[in-house]
Symmetry: C2
Subunit: 119 residues, 2 copies
């Protein structure tokens, strides 16, 4: 087990204790993957704008295309991605779908992100 750690390091393992600790506390592949997937979803200018618009009010797809100035198809594709990540939800009223944020996490993530970016 410790050998395994050392074997992985092809040169010299400088701080075995730190490495052992870090490995013990490390996120599972699955969790790290989900987290990365979430951030990757937020990592696109179109989706950032889209989410930001929805942060203030609900909008139908047509509205969104007007707000962010993209084709309806592009917006629809992006909305699907956001839906899959459970970042947005929608309600239907007739043939119109109204999208809104699914929870408050996005707002908090944006806050933190903006703090980092603008400092």
């Amino acid at each position: 087990m410790e050998r395994e750690i050392i074997d992985r390091c092809d040169t010299t393992c400088i701080h075995e204790e730190a490495v052992r600790e870090a490995r013990k506390q490390m996120l599972s592949d699955e969790t790290a993957g989900f987290l990365a997937e979430l951030f990757r979803t937020l990592g696109d200018t179109t989706r950032v704008k889209l989410l930001f618009a929805l942060m203030q009010r609900e909008l139908c797809v047509c509205d969104v295309t007007a707000v962010i100035g993209m084709s309806e198809s592009a917006v629809s594709h992006q909305l699907r991605i956001l839906r899959n990540q459970r970042l947005v939800r929608y309600r239907r009223q007739g043939k119109i779908l109204y999208y809104s944020l699914a929870d408050s996490h996005v707002a908090r993530l944006f806050e933190q992100g903006l703090e980092h970016v603008t400092e």
Copy 2:
């Protein structure tokens, strides 16, 4: 100006008022871009693990390769990306570089992200 908004919508603009408001409050292209870039940087399993390891303690590059089980070259490339985004910093001690988190934003972003992912 209002015409511009309406022109962009090739079908029917359903909620002109909402669209106008949303456009007024919208992030600038630049800010949205920076924000997206930040999240994109967090949107990779390797980098998530790397940052998570550094969240608890500083590590040298060799340690990191051992912790996350990737080649030294891959780790080095990723560290550069994180450096460029000012997410990590390093101090040199002899030939060894010790990396650590640049600020506390990552930790908060991870918190929020994990909450979303695990709920």
